[in-house]
Structures are given as C-alpha cells and as structure tokens.
C-alpha cells in the first residue's frame, strides 16, 4: 500500500468522499449567494450585515469555508504530487498551502463572528 502523510484524510477513499461532499456544499452556497444578490438589487450594508447576523447564515457560511478549506487542501495536494517531483519543493509547497488555508479559515471565522 502507498502511504502519504500530508494528504488531508490520509486515505484516498476519505479524500475522494470529502472532495465530493464539499463540492456539493460549495455549489449550494454559491447558488444561494448568487440568487440572494439577484433578488436583492441595490443591496445596502444593513441588509447584507443583517443576513450574516443570523445564526443559520453563519453556520452555512462556516460550513462553506470549511468545505473550501478541505476542497483546496485535497485539490492542491494532488497538484503538488503530480507536478513537484523534488521532495523539498513538494513538502515546502504543501506546508505553505496548508498554512495559507489555516490562516484563511481562521480569518473567515473572525469575519463571520467579528461583525
């Protein structure tokens, strides 16, 4: 068996399932946001802020952020294992990607609950 320590789920099956579930969540979130913007022309700050003040929207948004983080980790990890053949370059890129994803996720949480 081929092992790997920097993939998200440490298993191809788990990564594969996470990738598909997160894709569905991201698609639903994107559809919702696009539809909301279409149905609210001339959107002002109070309405937009009011939407994100509701708990369900914060949960939905955080779910989308977590999905995006997992989706990006799995996707970019795959790209690095395809194209970066030098171990130091590959591990360096993977660490940079994982750190960036972590920072963006925490930042996203702060934005969601900080307003």
């Amino acid at each position: 068996m081929v092992t790997n320590i920097t993939s998200l789920g440490r298993s191809g099956l788990s990564d594969w399932l996470i990738q598909r579930v997160s894709a569905v969540i991201l698609a639903l979130y994107t559809l919702f946001i696009v539809a909301y913007l279409l149905f609210n022309p001339g959107l002002d700050y109070a309405t937009w802020s009011g939407l994100f003040a509701q708990t369900w929207m914060r949960v939905f948004s955080l779910l989308a952020f977590v999905s995006l983080a997992a989706h990006a980790w799995i996707g970019l990890w795959t790209v690095t294992t395809d194209y970066l053949k030098s171990t130091s370059t590959r591990v360096g890129a993977q660490i940079a990607i994982i750190l960036a994803i972590f920072v963006f996720l925490i930042w996203g949480i702060q934005v969601l609950w900080g307003a």
């Binding site: 068996m1 081929v2 790997n4 298993s11 191809g12 099956l13 990564d15 594969w16 399932l17 194209y83």
Partner: protein, 236 residues
C-alpha cells in the same frame, strides 16, 4: 499521391545522444494497409528500425505505439483510420522509457500489474470438481478478462505519466476489478485494503483516455468506478 510520408521516432541509446524523427516515403500503391504492414516494408529497407510485433492480428498486444498522436495496435489500425494529409507519425508509447526506436521498457507497467496480484486467490478447501460459477457470476467478468496488456491505455493516461510508481493505471485496475468481481476469489478484503490510498486507484481523474484508445473496446474507467463503489461500501 500514393507515396505516404512516414515520420518515425528513432533512438538508439548506444549511438544517439538524443532521439530524432526520421522521415521515410512508402509506396502503398493506394492500398489501405495496416500501420504494421508499413513498418514491415520500411524494416525490409532499413534493418536498424526497431519495433515489437508478434501475432499481427491484435491478440498478443506487442505492437502498441503512438500513431499520429493516438495510442493503438499497429497491426489492427489501418492507414485510413489514422493518416491525415498523407502523413503518418509513429512514436513509442508515451511515458515509458525508450529501449530503442518504438520499443519501450514495460517494467513499470508490469510492476503495477503485479501489484494487484493478478491471479485467483481462494482459501476454501479445494473441491473435487471445478469451482463452479453461475452464468450470471460469469457474466460479470465480461469486458474485464479480454485485456491483452498492450499498455495502450496506461500510457495514454496523464495520471500514470506523472505517478507510474504509485498509480496502478487503467490496465492494472481493470484486472484488479476482474479479480474483485470474481465469485471464486476470496481475497476481496485484502485486495481492497491495498487500493484505498490516495494514489493506487484514486489518482484516476476519470478523463477516459483509456476508454478512447483501448484496441479491444474495453472500459477501464467503469471498472475503476466499480472499485471505488466497493471501497465506499466496505468503509462506510
């Protein structure tokens, strides 16, 4: 316009510092020959030209090569199927090390085939007669057992090009499913546990190059999907 222009990848590692394309002209007399016939005509004139061939009827799988950009068996591919603008470009199967001219080193391909343990495993007591299958059980092997291991599919697969040491490749996975689907094989769990990592099966991105090039009309992508279904059913 019966003189066909043929461009062939040439490389002899003992004398050439780098591969090069050699141009030939072949008089087909207007006949729709197989690509292998053209190679044999050239070989009669230029005996240094190296390629593999054996049965010349699409059974042995020796003469897999890249013809005008698409992998296939030279013996069962007619000029009318591949030649465009009277030009034929022949290259070795992509992604494998070249031994000489159109002959590639199939070592990695066979290593991946070996990894899936391509033989029936059964730990039950040996019966006095054959291990019988119902017609329905036997039907599940159709579309799987016909593979001749020509490597046209695996060498058309970018996932195999980038990770030939870790991704089993379409040919190996078709055979992996051939034994997973066999009612007489009892090593299903062991076979599945060898395949759940991020590379062996899951590096398949489903682009179906394998299906497009298989000279036997088989569908490795479908077999890979069935393996994923079995892994998912087993682990959830």
């Amino acid at each position: 316009m019966s003189m066909l222009q043929v461009s062939i990848y040439r490389y002899n590692p003992e004398t050439d510092s780098a591969p090069y394309m050699q141009e030939y002209r072949v008089d087909t007399q207007g006949r729709d020959l197989m690509v292998l016939n053209v190679l044999e005509m050239l070989k009669a004139e230029d005996t240094t030209l190296a390629y593999r061939r054996s049965c010349r009827e699409g059974v042995c799988g020796s003469d897999g090569m890249n013809m005008n950009g698409k992998n296939g068996l030279a013996c069962v591919t007619s000029l009318s199927q591949v030649v465009k603008n009277n030009k034929l470009v022949l290259r070795p199967l992509p992604g494998l090390p070249v031994v000489r001219d159109l002959a590639v080193d199939m070592g990695l391909f066979y290593k991946q085939y070996g990894r899936i343990q391509p033989y029936l495993q059964n730990d039950e007591p040996t019966p006095a007669i054959e291990r019988l299958q119902s017609p329905e059980e036997r039907d599940k092997l159709d579309g799987l057992y016909e593979c001749i291991l020509c490597a046209c599919c695996s060498t058309a697969c970018p996932s195999f090009w980038w990770n030939p040491e870790r991704f089993v490749g379409p040919a190996g996975l078709l055979q992996a499913y051939r034994f997973l689907a066999d009612s007489r094989d009892t090593a299903t769990q062991e076979r599945l546990s060898e395949l759940e990592d991020p590379f062996s099966v899951f590096r398949c991105r489903g682009i179906m190059n394998c299906v497009a090039v298989c000279p036997k009309g088989l569908n490795p992508t479908r077999a890979i999907g069935k393996i994923r279904d079995m892994l998912l059913a087993d682990a959830t």
